[in-house]
């Protein structure tokens, strides 16, 4: 076609400019800044990274992120899988799905308030106003300060809020894939005498592997950037800090742009692995 190149430049130009300005160039520049001091004046080599890997507070953030990575990813994907399979068997599937998916629509800041309230704590004997502690009391236990007891209780409490938000996302995607599995395959196995667990283990699960892989990488990407929940619920106090909150603190509290950049580079490094996987998968799909 005549003038196709000129038209293409007009069509793609604005996007290329904006993406370069807001994503590509700043990312490269941040990598560069991570080798400089707090004001980006003098080159300091790997000092910022040495700080990240030796400072006790940052170590705690790494450890928490790792805990998030394992528990949050496993929690969302497994609950999503469980619900996808269970809901397929009941008539009120659509309603139940909406309920589980609902938290995806609201802000994580709002969800953070919801769960702060769930975890509200009053000393033993006082009237509880947080539902979780009231349930504990009803069951004959003693109320706990869920967001303060470190390191396990409060971090797991935050992660639970994260799982509450993201399970619906996993459910919707896994459920769509589950419904795509040919039903006659499952029927044939049942006719041959397989029980439901065997059908799931040998037919449904293998068919879901590609979807589960995509979901898991998506959740890993999410979990590395988790910020809002921690910011609103504990602001990283009581040993709950994660990397994204650490970066925010380095940036606005300590005003150390070298270290803040280094934290961002660590997040980028994890994302880069997924980036390579995604690009490879995209090329395979396009090459059909």
């Amino acid at each position: 076609m005549r003038g196709e190149k000129a038209w293409s430049a007009l069509f793609v130009g604005p996007a290329v400019l904006l993406v370069s300005f807001y994503l590509v160039l700043p990312t490269l520049y941040t990598v560069y800044l991570s080798f400089f001091d707090r004001n980006s004046q003098s080159f300091v080599g790997l000092d910022n990274f040495r700080y990240l890997f030796t400072n006790a507070a940052v170590q705690a953030a790494f450890r928490n992120n790792l805990l998030w990575l394992v528990v949050f990813t496993a929690g969302t994907v497994l609950l999503g899988l469980l619900l996808a399979v269970l809901l397929d068997r009941v008539r009120y599937e659509a309603v139940a799905k909406s309920i589980i998916f609902l938290p995806m629509a609201i802000s994580f800041a709002g969800a953070g308030v919801i769960w702060r309230f769930m975890y509200a704590y009053r000393p033993e004997g006082a009237e509880q106003i947080g539902l979780l502690n009231q349930i504990v009391v009803w069951l004959g236990g003693t109320p706990r300060a869920w967001l303060i007891e470190q390191p396990w209780v409060n971090n797991l409490a935050l992660i639970a809020a994260g799982v509450w938000i993201w399970t619906g996302f996993c459910l919707v995607i896994i459920s769509a894939a589950y419904k795509g599995i040919p039903k006659d395959m499952m029927e044939a196995a049942r006719v041959d005498g397989a029980n439901e667990l065997q059908v799931f283990r040998h037919i449904s699960l293998p068919s879901l592997y590609p979807t589960l892989a995509v979901i898991t990488t998506t959740m890993i990407i999410n979990v590395m950037k988790i910020f809002d929940i921690v910011y609103v619920m504990t602001n990283g106090q009581f040993g709950t800090e994660v990397l994204a909150n650490r970066m925010y603190k380095e940036m606005f509290q300590f005003r150390h742009f070298g270290r803040a950049s280094a934290v961002a580079v660590v997040l980028l490094a994890v994302a880069a692995v997924v980036m390579v996987i995604n690009i490879r998968r995209f090329r395979e799909e396009e090459g059909r």
Partner: protein
């Protein structure tokens, strides 16, 4: 499959429903607690659990709108609500337009570097925004763009583009080839093909994307926190809410009402347009 009502089958059906209903309650109750508490007077909220209203649920004297009056007009949530709208609408229209143009070129025009650019877009899907904050914030501060609406509009546009381009390109590429070829034979320009053919035929995809981007921006805390911070005249609901959490800590009658104000719009969008929202999620499971 015909179901036989043996005792074992009945028990397994019952436990299936039990597990599902239990999980649905875990998802519903935290949100319900927030909603109920936001309508209870301050003393009631701090004096007894929100579930106690259900002993006399239709005694309407136990509910009040005072909390909403308080957060909207004394705590600045009304202003923040307006700001959220002023931020979200342009931050949705702009990226969708720019992305649609680029996506059309990626799908139907040939130009040098097309494959490479597309791979870059796919790669950028998972880049953590954290790696862009420092350079852009510095430029913004120099230009006086920090703390302005325009600064946020363009930032959200840049950040939203990779996903928007990816989603729309996949949709455009699936349109029938003959359509465009016969249009070109009739003398149509790429602009006409885009505006008169591709766009009108892609309403469902555009709708999904608009909803997705709108909710993304409306619910965003981090980007707003970085680029407008505490500037009250510009700060959206999420930022305002997190400030209130900092200053009100345990005053749950205020916090629950404030949190619910942030959720009204997303919840309405969700209930009215859930289908499109879910479709957007399914189409772009790799969004970073």
């Amino acid at each position: 499959m015909s179901r036989r009502w043996t005792p074992g089958a009945v028990a397994s059906r019952a436990s299936l429903h039990f597990v599902i209903v239990l999980l649905c309650l875990v998802w519903l109750l935290p949100a319900l607690g927030l909603l109920v508490s936001s309508f209870r007077p301050a003393q009631a909220v701090s004096g007894s659990g929100w579930w106690t209203v259900f002993t006399t649920p239709f005694d309407f004297t136990q509910y009040t709108l005072d909390n909403y009056r308080h957060v909207l007009f004394q705590d600045g949530m009304a202003r923040a609500f307006l700001n959220s709208l002023l931020i979200s609408v342009p931050s949705t229209v702009l990226p969708v337009l720019v992305a649609a143009l680029a996506a059309f070129a990626f799908a139907w025009l040939r130009f040098p570097g097309r494959e490479l650019l597309l791979l870059i877009v796919v790669g950028l899907l998972v880049v953590p925004l954290q790696t862009t904050f420092i350079p852009i914030l510095r430029l913004y501060s120099q230009w006086g763009a920090a703390g302005t609406f325009a600064g946020l509009w363009f930032a959200h546009t840049g950040y939203g583009l990779p996903f928007a381009i990816y989603l729309l390109r996949n949709f455009f590429a699936a349109l029938p080839r003959d359509l465009f070829e016969s249009a070109y034979i009739d003398g149509a320009s790429p602009w006409t093909a885009f505006w008169r053919l591709a766009l009108p035929m892609s309403t469902p995809a555009i709708a999904s994307l608009v909803i997705f981007q709108f909710l993304w921006v409306w619910n965003d805390l981090l980007v707003a926190l970085i680029y407008v911070g505490g500037t009250q005249e510009v700060a959206p609901l999420t930022v305002r809410l997190s400030t209130l959490v900092g200053s009100y800590g345990q005053e749950w009658h205020v916090l629950t009402a404030a949190a619910f104000v942030t959720m009204i719009v997303p919840l309405s969008v969700f209930f009215a347009l859930q289908r499109y929202f879910v479709r957007g999620i399914l189409a772009g499971a790799v969004k970073g």
